[in-house]
Amino acid sequence: MAELVIYGIVLGSIISLGAIGLTLVYGIIRFANFAHGDFLTAGAYSALFMATVVLSWIGIPDSNFGSLSFGWRMAIAFPFSMAAVGCVAIVLDRVLYRKLRQKGSGPVLFAMSSLGAAFIIRMIIFILWGADSLFYKPGMLRPALELPLGIKIRPDQILMLLVVLFLITTLHFFLQKTKMGKAMRATADNMELALISGIDTERIITWTWGIGGALAAAGGILYGIDVQLHPHMGWNFLIPLFAATILGTIGNMYGALIGGLTIGIAQQVSTAFLLPTYKPAVAFIIMILILLIRPEGIFGGSSR
């Protein structure tokens, strides 16, 4: 059981990365982004492309770091893929959502447009890579470390937790200390007031998409390292992402972090008595319970 909780924290940290991006987009732009799961997929596959095509062509060696299952190629591909998916998110906003904003379309049209974008991203991945599961390094033995209480954990997973911790701390300081971060929080609080104070909301929107896309990409790559890549992987994350976002109160980054960990742990612990394929359903049930008991989430005040 302790082992399942540890694995749940690993999975939950991936969900948190996605959910933090989703909650920022949701809170700041008031936009339920149904393409967010597919940002995870896009990140995972762009890292695959970087590591196996671009960096091997440049001639970066394929050796691994110590007992980790990846080396320099992945270390370089990781930030580049985050930037790439951040750009994808910004481009989607420019090409699709900004046009809808200018026409004053209702919120549901945005959601529908993002659903269309989700399918477009997924179909491109299907076309380029096919429908099979892929690995960054196929056929690799991945030995686990033995911790007390009989917990087995792979070195990769420890590093993953450190990466997530680093990204979240960075984002925390960005939102708290920088001017852009403060402007983003102000916009999330009250968009009209932010506009009156001279905040350029289009710039805020661009930054929000960039950060959201980059974090989702990081989550996707980490999942790819931990488990495998599949064009549907992000879609399976969509319900957990929304569940984590709603649980942690929409717009609240720390809530999304806690929500993500909670959902991740619940999903992994459920495998003790349910088939693992039911993981999305577990997240769904939790979400329905939150909607019934406390739809504003754990950090929400009573309705504004």
């Binding site: 149904f34 549901v108 529908m112 269309g116 399918f119 096919g130 739809p295």
Partner: protein, 322 residues
Amino acid sequence: MEIWGIIAYLVSFAIMAGIYAVFCLGLNIQWGYTGLFNIGIAGFFCIGAYASAMITTPKPTGLYAHYVRQIFGLNLPFIIGLLGAAVICGIVAFLIGIPTLRLGEDYLAISTIGIAETFRLIFNNEHWLANGPRGLMGLPQPFQDLVDPKHYNYIYLIIILIIVVIVYLSIEKAIRSPWGRVLRAIREDEVSAAMSGKDIFHFKMQSLIFGAMIMGIGGALYAHYTKAISPDVFTPLYGTFIIWVMLMAGGSGNNKGAVLGAYVIWLIWIGTKFMTDLLPYTLKARAPYIRFLLIGILLEIILIYRPRGLLGEEKKVSKLVD
């Protein structure tokens, strides 16, 4: 003989598009008239198809029971299957409406995705329920003894057309009643509808259930057309996404548009198949993805440049106002 081949092809085209027209009409009640954002149509599709399949087939016995497991089989007529599918979908819609309809529209959207995925997982993994991933086969077709199976599609086309007409007329009737006007009032402005003394939650719930029941009928019609169903049919692409594109293309808030959209988009969908047939052999396996990519791009173009669709909404729905 060539001409009969083409006619048979057109008939099968008209049947599939007619089934999708039923889904579009169901979605039109929810989205077109009430503004309910249901993106889990595949869930109701799946439930309707399985419900009707299990109502109309006998429970497997003897040796056959070793190969096909299903929790019940009632061996009742087709029409009971349709009604049963509608009722069960209505109940599921009621249950999903309770936690979500008081909240913003996004909550219903994500919950309907959840219900669609959950039911697909259940039908895939629970072998005792409806034979797991292998699904159910040999579903009965109404009046199947009347003609040679080769020509059966003509009869089924007539059945589909009759049902489309019945569904169309009943929605038109409902939407032109005071009840229908309340739905549109809710879609336009929830607060002022509530201030006129309308119970928003109950009207939304009725709309959600009504639409879901029609989707259940659509699922049943699909099951008895293909005679074989398995959980992998009810994916978000075939079961939800394409139906949304159809309704948006035809014109949400317009029942004629819903039917037209189903036929037009299904024609485009079939047309893209001829296009991808021209692709080099190595790309053939990826052809369905290319086709869906085109449909996705089409949706984005519609949303930006013509959100009202081909026909747009009828502004007047009462014959008393002119």
